[in-house]
């Protein structure tokens, strides 16, 4: 018998414990243990006890493969079925698939180098292709999946934007700076560039001057404008992130406000910069 208080009261008490003490409280008696497990007080706050397997993405093969650990009889009893890590049930489009992220048993796949995103549950072999994010015009630095089966059966996908684009003042708007959607990391290209091969990083270059503006003047203006751009704080606040929610089935832009001091400037992020082209 645990404390002589109702389960809800005891849950309130347990919720106030730091993770550490909660784990110890689980070892006190059966009531505490059942309550902590039944109300999932501990589970959402710690990492899984073991790694089920590893998914490997390939450069020269269309589909990743799951490498799982040999299962003992007890673990297959708890999972309740075969996990199809290679997602053989998904129609085999002639496309390149990559696992971008995973969360609590769900996988986030990228189809054809960022063309589409797909979320699937290898345990139930159910999958959903997300609509394209019309708002995501800039380069995406990362795609992430958020899912917590303890709180909801819905998931969210976050597109983390890369460095902000240089905003061109409206009189010069026809010299629009557009960021290119970069292809996923490719080892071949990296090796080729290190060998002095053909693949090189494009450097930003000043736009050709319009006839109405003095060439020198425009060049100075753009240089100054770019300098200011690189002095902007990073990450910006609010940091706007495109989020897909399976609850609404739509993408939305969600602003996140930084807590605390400015971390750095755009300039410090330059080594991690992506290709900007000037049309």
């Amino acid at each position: 018998m645990a404390l002589p208080v109702p389960d809800d009261g005891l849950t309130d008490i347990l919720r106030r414990l730091p993770l550490w003490s909660l784990a110890v409280a689980r070892c006190v008696c059966n009531t505490c243990r059942f309550l902590i497990d039944d109300r999932a007080l501990l589970r959402p706050r710690i990492l899984p006890h073991s790694v089920y397997g590893v998914v490997i993405n390939y450069i020269d093969h269309r589909r990743p493969h799951l490498f799982s650990r040999p299962r003992s009889s007890s673990s297959s009893a708890t999972t309740g079925g075969e996990i199809d890590g290679n997602l053989s049930s998904v129609p085999s489009y002639r496309m390149n698939w990559h696992v971008m992220d995973h969360c609590d048993g769900l996988l986030l796949w990228d189809i054809d180098w960022g063309d589409r995103l797909c979320v699937c549950n290898p345990a139930t072999q159910r999958w959903a292709t997300l609509p394209r994010c019309s708002e995501a015009t800039g380069f995406v630095a990362g795609e992430y999946l958020a899912f917590d089966s303890a709180t909801s059966s819905h998931y969210e996908v976050f597109l983390i934007p890369a460095l902000s684009e240089i905003q061109i003042p409206s009189p010069l708007v026809h010299h629009k700076v557009k960021s290119m959607a970069a292809a996923p990391f490719c080892l071949d290209e990296l090796l080729a560039s290190q060998d002095g091969g053909s693949w090189t990083m494009e450097e930003p270059s000043p736009p050709p001057p319009p006839s109405s503006m003095d060439e020198q003047e425009l060049y100075r203006f753009m240089t100054r404008h770019e300098e200011l751009h690189w002095l902007m704080e990073w990450p910006p606040s609010p940091y706007k992130i495109d989020v897909f929610s399976s609850r609404t089935g739509r993408w939305e832009e969600r602003p996140f406000v930084r807590e605390g001091e400015t971390v750095t400037t755009m300039n410090d992020m330059k080594p991690w910069n992506h290709v900007f082209t000037v049309k």
């Binding site: 018998m1 784990a23 110890v24």
Partner: protein
């Protein structure tokens, strides 16, 4: 709501309550209003001279609860910093009770719907659990170890990480 409380305070109307073991207590209406149950009874005109019977609250915890509500009702609004700190000190001393009284307060505050007291008792219990081994917790709260030796070994293994490091890393707490 604040205005109603003030009126009650001004009129000095006393509310009578009766514990499960038949003892009578009195407190100002403003104090009784801190209990959701008593407030509803007062609103429904159930507060008469015979007193509101509280079937599951014994005299000992009820006396404490009357103390708590009276103190908090007197200082319900427009607190200065000093008064807020004094109230905090009162709470800290108030909840320095043995585990039997703590259980009684947990149950009674929950039953009577005294939110502030519920929080205080819950936090106090959590503070008592923190930083103790399972055995020390069983001793403090008089809990019987009802695991079989096999279960105990298994469960301690599952939560081994919580025992392995003597000092918890701050990011985990």
């Amino acid at each position: 709501m604040a205005a109603a409380t003030d009126d009650a305070g001004d009129s000095n109307e006393m509310i009578r309550v009766v514990s499960s073991d038949g003892e009578h207590f009195e407190m100002p209406e403003a104090a009784a209003n801190l209990s959701l149950v008593l407030r509803h009874m007062i609103e429904d005109d159930c507060a008469d001279a015979a007193g509101i019977p509280l079937a599951v609250v014994a005299a000992k915890p009820l006396a404490k609860i009357v103390d708590y509500c009276t103190k908090h009702a007197a200082k319900s609004s427009g607190l200065t910093i000093e008064e807020a700190e004094e109230l905090k000190r009162f709470d800290a001393e108030f909840i320095e009770v043995d585990t039997d009284m703590l259980y009684d307060l947990l149950v009674a505050a929950d039953f009577m719907g005294v939110e502030g007291l519920s929080k205080l008792a819950v936090q106090r219990t959590a503070d008592l659990i923190k930083g103790k081994t399972p055995e020390q917790n069983r001793e403090t709260f008089g809990i019987v170890n009802d695991f079989t030796p096999e279960e105990e070994e298994e469960i301690c293994k599952e939560n081994e990480w919580a025992f392995q490091i003597t000092k918890p890393p701050s990011r985990l707490c």
